[in-house]
C-alpha cells in the first residue's frame, strides 16, 4: 500500500513516515504544495494524508488535483484547525476522513485501515489474529470458526486492538476512539474496563485465548506474548 504524506512540519512528516514504514506501508513525502502537486500528477497512491495549511497553498486546493488524477486514492485530512468550516469543506470536496491535530498514531492507523476497507473490496475485509477473525464487511467476529456475538462498541474495540496489535494503547486513546473526543469523560474510564471484561469473557467462552494484556493498570496491549 502506497501512501503520500503532505505536511509542512518536517518533524511531524518524519514521525508519521517512520511509523507507517514500520506498519509496512510505502511512504512518499511532500513538505509543500508544489511537491505534492507534482507527485500527485505522476504517481498513484492508495492513501493521501493531507495537511491543509501549507506555506505555499491551501491543501483543500490539492483535493481538486486529487479528484482529477487519483480516482482510487483515499484522502485523510490532517489539520490543526478544528474549525467546522474546514471539516465540512474538506469532506464536501471529496476527502474521506478528517483528523484533528494532535492525534494518535493508533487512531490514524485505524482511520487509514477504514478508508482502505471502504475503497478496496478485494480481500482486505478480513483481519485475522491467531484463532480470531474479523470480517469487516459483515461486521462479524469468529473464534475457531465459531461466531462471537458482540455489541457495536465491543466490536469497534476488538477491531481497534487487532489493527493496532502489539501496540500499547492508553485508556484515553481507547476512549477517544470509541467516543467523540468532545465527550468530557476525564473523570472516569471504568466503562472501558467493563467492555474489555465482556470481550475477554466472550472470547474465553468460545475457547479462545486472552490476548489483552493490562500494562500497569494504565494501558492495554493486544499481543501473543
Amino acid at each position: 500500500m502506497k501512501i503520500l504524506i503532505v505536511e509542512d512540519e518536517i518533524d511531524l512528516l518524519i514521525t508519521l513516515s517512520n511509523y507507517l514504514v514500520k506498519e509496512n506501508y510505502i511512504c512518499e513525502l511532500a513538505d509543500n504544495f508544489q511537491k505534492a502537486d507534482e507527485k500527485l500528477s505522476i504517481y498513484d497512491y492508495d492513501i493521501i494524508l493531507l495537511d491543509i495549511m501549507l506555506p505555499d497553498g491551501n491543501g483543500l486546493d490539492l483535493l481538486k488535483t486529487i479528484k482529477k488524477y487519483q480516482i482510487k486514492a483515499g484522502v485523510i485530512i490532517l489539520s490543526a484547525k478544528n474549525s467546522l468550516d474546514d471539516k465540512i469543506n474538506g469532506l464536501d470536496l471529496g476527502a474521506d476522513d478528517y483528523l484533528t491535530k494532535p492525534f494518535q498514531l493508533s487512531e490514524m492507523n485505524a482511520r487509514i485501515k477504514a478508508v482502505l476497507r471502504r475503497r478496496h473490496f478485494d480481500g482486505s475485509n478480513m483481519l485475522t489474529f491467531q484463532e480470531i477473525s474479523i470480517d469487516t464487511v459483515g461486521k462479524s467476529v469468529t473464534v475457531h470458526g465459531k461466531e462471537l456475538i458482540l455489541t457495536a462498541k465491543e466490536y469497534d474495540l476488538l477491531l481497534f486492538f487487532l489493527i493496532n496489535k502489539n501496540r500499547v494503547l492508553t485508556k484515553e486513546v481507547i476512549a477517544e476512539h470509541l467516543w467523540a473526543d468532545n465527550i468530557d469523560m476525564a473523570d472516569n474510564f471504568d466503562f472501558i474496563y467493563t467492555h474489555l471484561n465482556n470481550i475477554r469473557k466472550k472470547i474465553k467462552h468460545a475457547g479462545g485465548n486472552d490476548y489483552i494484556k493490562t500494562i500497569y493498570g494504565m494501558g492495554y496491549k493486544f499481543s501473543e506474548r
Binding site: 511531524l12 491535530k101 494532535p102 498514531l105
Partner: protein, 414 residues
C-alpha cells in the same frame, strides 16, 4: 423615549406655557387699556358737566351715571376712582361700575360730583378678546406642530432605516454595511463615521480571528509532534515508573491541547460563527445521546428517567446542539454518585436535566464561570460553553440545587 416624541413633547410644553402666559398677559393689558380709556372719558364728562353747571346753574342727576350734590363746604377729599358694585334695575343683580368722585367749586357753590360708568360690558369685551387671542394662537401653534411632525418624520425615516441596518450588523458578515444617504449634512457625516468604524471593526475582528486560529495551529502542531513521539517511546519496554511518567506527560499535553481547543471553540461560539442550519428536536437528540452515553451510565450504575411531555424544537447549529447535550449529560454523569439518578424532562420550550450528586458550593451565578470546577478533573469549561450556547440562541439557563442538582433551559420570551 424617541427623539421626535421628546422634541414634540418639549415644544408642546413650551407652547402651552406661552399660550397661557400670553393669554393672561393679554387679558390684563386689554383690561388696563380699557380702564384707562374709561377713566379718561369720565374726566372729560366731568369737564363737560362742570361747564354745563357754570352756564345754566342746573344740577343734572341721572342715576347711576351722574350724581351731583351741593355741599356747604369742601371736605378734604381729593378726586378719586373707585370700582364699586351697584344693583341693576332690571335683574336685581350687582354690576361693576367705575366711579369718579370729585368736589368742585363752581360759581361760589360747592358741588360733589360722582360720575359712573358700567365696566361690565368692557369686561366682557376683554374676555372675548383674550379668548380669541387664545384660539388664534393655539390654532397657529397646532398647525405648525403638525407641519413640523410630518417633515420630521420624512427627515428621520432614512435615519430610522439606517439605525435598523446598524442594529442587524454582524461582524462575520462579509458584506459592507450599506447606509442610505440623505441631503442632511449631519446625517451623512454620521453615516461616513459609522461606515468607517464598522470597516475598521471588521478588519480588526478578522485579524483577531485569524490570529487566534493561527495561534491554535501553531500550538497544536508542536503538541502533535510531542505526543506522537511520546506514543512511540511508550511502545518500548519500560519499567512501571517510566511508563507512569510518560502517561503523565501525555495526559498533561493532551490537557493543554484540549484546553486550547475548548477556548477557541468558546470564542467561536461567542463570535456567533456557527450558522443555525438545522431544526433540532430535543426529544430525538436526547434519545440518541442517552444511547451514546449508555456505557458511561452503566459504569456508574446510573438510572435515567426520561419524561417527554411535548417536544422542544429549536433552530440551531447541529454541532452546537450536540455539544450542548454532550456537556450537560457529561456533567450530570461526572458529578453523580455511584448508583445515582438522572432525570431528563422535555416540555414545550423547556429542557430540564437533574442529577443526584454531592453538595457543592456552586450557585447559579458562579457555576457557569470559566474554570469553575468542583472536585472533578475536568477543565471547567463545559458549562461555560453551555452558557455561551444558550446566550447566543436566546435561551435562558438556570442552575438550582435542592435534593437534586438541576439545570433548566428555557426559551427566552421577548
Amino acid at each position: 423615549m424617541k427623539f421626535l416624541d421628546k422634541v414634540n413633547r418639549n415644544s408642546f410644553i413650551l407652547l402651552t406655557i406661552i399660550l397661557i402666559v400670553s393669554s393672561i398677559a393679554g387679558y390684563f393689558v386689554l383690561r388696563h387699556v380699557i380702564l384707562s380709556e374709561t377713566k379718561e372719558s369720565l374726566i372729560e364728562k366731568e369737564i363737560l358737566l362742570r361747564k354745563q353747571i357754570a352756564e345754566t346753574g342746573e344740577i343734572l342727576n341721572l342715576y347711576p351715571s351722574i350724581e351731583v350734590e351741593k355741599l356747604s363746604r369742601l371736605t378734604s377729599k381729593g378726586p378719586e376712582f373707585r370700582e364699586i358694585m351697584l344693583p341693576d334695575d332690571n335683574e336685581n343683580e350687582l354690576e361693576p361700575y367705575l366711579e369718579y368722585s370729585i368736589e368742585q367749586k363752581i360759581a361760589d357753590t360747592y358741588y360733589s360730583i360722582k360720575l359712573r360708568q358700567s365696566v361690565f360690558e368692557n369686561e366682557d369685551l376683554v374676555i372675548i378678546l383674550a379668548f380669541s387671542l387664545f384660539v388664534i394662537l393655539s390654532v397657529s401653534f397646532g398647525i405648525s406642530f403638525f407641519i413640523n411632525r410630518s417633515t420630521n418624520k420624512t427627515i428621520w425615516a432614512d435615519f430610522e432605516r439606517n439605525l435598523q441596518t446598524i442594529e442587524h450588523f454582524n461582524f462575520s458578515d462579509k458584506k459592507k454595511i450599506e447606509l442610505l444617504s440623505s441631503d442632511i449634512e449631519e446625517f451623512d457625516r454620521l453615516n461616513r463615521v459609522i461606515e468607517y468604524l464598522t470597516e475598521k471593526l471588521k478588519a480588526d475582528y478578522r485579524s483577531l480571528k485569524e490570529f487566534t486560529e493561527n495561534a491554535s495551529h501553531e500550538i497544536q502542531t508542536p503538541l502533535a509532534i510531542a505526543l506522537l513521539n511520546l506514543d512511540e517511546i511508550l511502545q518500548h519496554n519500560l519499567d512501571k515508573e517510566d511508563f507512569k511518567k510518560k502517561i503523565t506527560i501525555i495526559n498533561a499535553l493532551k490537557r493543554l491541547s484540549m484546553l486550547n481547543q475548548s477556548l477557541i471553540l468558546l470564542a467561536k461560539i461567542e463570535n456567533r460563527q456557527f450558522k443555525a442550519d438545522k431544526l433540532i428536536s430535543f426529544k430525538d437528540a436526547l434519545h440518541r445521546k442517552i444511547e451514546e452515553f449508555a456505557a458511561f451510565l452503566e459504569s456508574k450504575k446510573l438510572h435515567v428517567e426520561l419524561k417527554f411531555e411535548q417536544d422542544f424544537m429549536l433552530k440551531m447549529n447541529g454541532e452546537l446542539a450536540d455539544l450542548l447535550l454532550n456537556n450537560l449529560l457529561s456533567n450530570a454523569i461526572n458529578h453523580n454518585l455511584i448508583g445515582g439518578n438522572i432525570q431528563v424532562t422535555v416540555r414545550l420550550n423547556e429542557l430540564k436535566i437533574c442529577n443526584t450528586g454531592e453538595t457543592n458550593s456552586m450557585t447559579d451565578a458562579t457555576i457557569f464561570n470559566r474554570f469553575a470546577k468542583g472536585k472533578s478533573k475536568s477543565y471547567g469549561l463545559g458549562l461555560a460553553m453551555v452558557k455561551n450556547i444558550c446566550d447566543t440562541h436566546d435561551l435562558e439557563i438556570h442552575y438550582a440545587k435542592d435534593k437534586l442538582h438541576c439545570f433548566t433551559i428555557n426559551k427566552k420570551i421577548n
